[in-house]
Symmetry: C2
Subunit: 292 residues, 2 copies
């Protein structure tokens, strides 16, 4: 018979290697994650590994036993929070882990992140240089390294330039288009609405721009919006989002390489790779219009 295909499960049992990597991401309908999952999948595929998808829902988090059932050679975590126990637990069971785009406190695993500090700093500089003083922030969750780091360095840099965010102009919310839409609605309803707003990531920024359009506030005429990540949607003309590029495909590839290299050489000390960021100027920013 020519159509014979050897059984992977038999092979896996004998070699104790499944040639399958677990990728845990948030809901894929959050437009951020496909930009990470897609190149991750491709990188593993190119290396002869298959991938299993795990969706980490806020209401129903991924557990250790789901990932440690012996069906995975390694795991990529893209949704880790600063207090995640998953990375520790998995490594304790001998399962190689790599963190992507998120860091975890007090845990030493392989990790690839973008230079969020520098990115946030450049964005802050950009806004004050444009002349903005009444600035708002729609930051990501403080329990994610990404949200936390970007917020911290954005406000810190602003402070250095003598600009301070008013409390009623900052919102913290989970990453999501809908959340961005809601957030901007509350911000423009403030007694003194911001002339510019920093979004914790592009997905929030898309929601902000969309919500602004909905309320007839023009971007960048009435409101400057800057994002973070540079997902492909940011370059859509209807958004034309000024943002900082994290080079997600590269981040994903690096993460895959790290995991693969650890599979080959399990003894290696944990590595931490931080990728450079650059701001990409598009059409969602401008100088503030005359203040009323």
């Amino acid at each position: 018979v020519l159509g014979y295909v050897p059984s992977e499960v038999g092979r896996s049992l004998a070699t104790r290697s499944t040639r399958r990597i677990g990728i845990v991401a948030a809901e894929l309908t959050n437009p951020f994650y496909p930009h990470l999952v897609e190149p991750l999948h491709r990188a593993f595929e190119d290396a002869g590994y298959r991938s299993a998808l795990y969706i980490d829902r806020t209401d129903d988090a991924i557990t250790v036993q789901e990932l440690a059932d012996g069906s995975l050679d390694g795991v990529v975590l893209t949704t880790a929070t600063v207090d995640s126990v998953l990375p520790r637990a998995l490594e304790d069971r001998g399962i190689p882990v790599v963190l992507v785009n998120r860091e975890v406190d007090d845990v030493a695993t392989d990790v690839v992140v973008a230079d969020n500090r520098h990115g946030a700093q450049m964005l802050a500089d950009l806004l004050v240089q444009l002349g903005h003083r009444r600035i708002g922030g729609v930051f990501g969750p403080s329990w994610t390294s990404t949200g936390r780091e970007r917020e911290e360095w954005f406000v810190r840099t602003l402070s250095r330039r003598g600009v301070h965010l008013k409390d009623d102009l900052v919102v913290r919310s989970p990453f999501g288009v809908e959340r961005g839409r809601e957030a901007i609605k509350s911000l423009v309803a403030a007694p003194e609405p911001p002339t510019a707003v920093f979004a914790g990531n592009d997905v929030l920024a898309l929601g902000i721009i969309d919500g602004a359009a909905e309320m007839d506030v023009s971007v960048p005429g009435d409101l400057t919006v800057v994002g973070f990540d540079d997902i492909s949607e940011a370059s859509w003309h209807r958004f034309s989002l000024t943002t900082v590029r994290c080079n997600l495909p590269r981040m994903a590839r690096s993460a895959a390489e790290m995991l693969l290299s650890r599979l080959a050489e399990p003894g290696q000390p944990p590595r931490r790779l931080v990728l450079p960021t650059e701001v990409v100027l598009r059409g969602s920013h401008s100088a503030p219009s005359a203040q009323p």
Copy 2:
């Protein structure tokens, strides 16, 4: 020890069931697929099944041996073309298959699709009723049942109403935002540009709207755009796409149910489920403006 997790691969070998379903989709950065993959994953998860992701790239198609290596209890195909051999091949090897959103000629497997004919018909009626006569089409690939069916019934209905599409106003291209953008640029460059354009799906429609904005043709002022699927992006204010709803989450759930039921009862005759469609009127359509 309390942290013991039984090995899935051992269990799989013994029970010859992996409790894992293969989901084959196109690149996830194509915004359509997350809307299918996400609810599919959820449905399988709820039923105690894990899922493996397979990305079907145009340049590197999924092969039978990848899916028939014994690591999958069943397969969901979302990228099948009318002449796909995969469904037949998989069923021949005893692997349950369900086709979602796409049909295959001369193959009897389980399938769940939307009522594309009715949807296309309603859209055609809408356009002529609005008064459009110079209508363009950016159809999907003719080698997909979805692209083919929607095109056929759209032009057929138009013909019945006495409206015919000029050859230089129809484009056929793979589904993709970028392709929609390119397509509309060629259409508006025609000697007599269309006042309305039908998109093979929402993803193409998004590209069309974005490309139109880029060329300063206003939607719906200068150009009416209608799509197909009603993915969540279609409801974003910046697109506000008039489209026909296929209820993708429901489609996915039904497909999962079908596959699961076949796993429980392998002998069943193939079923074909076609889900009703409805048009959802938003802001991307209007009557044609005065003709020059």
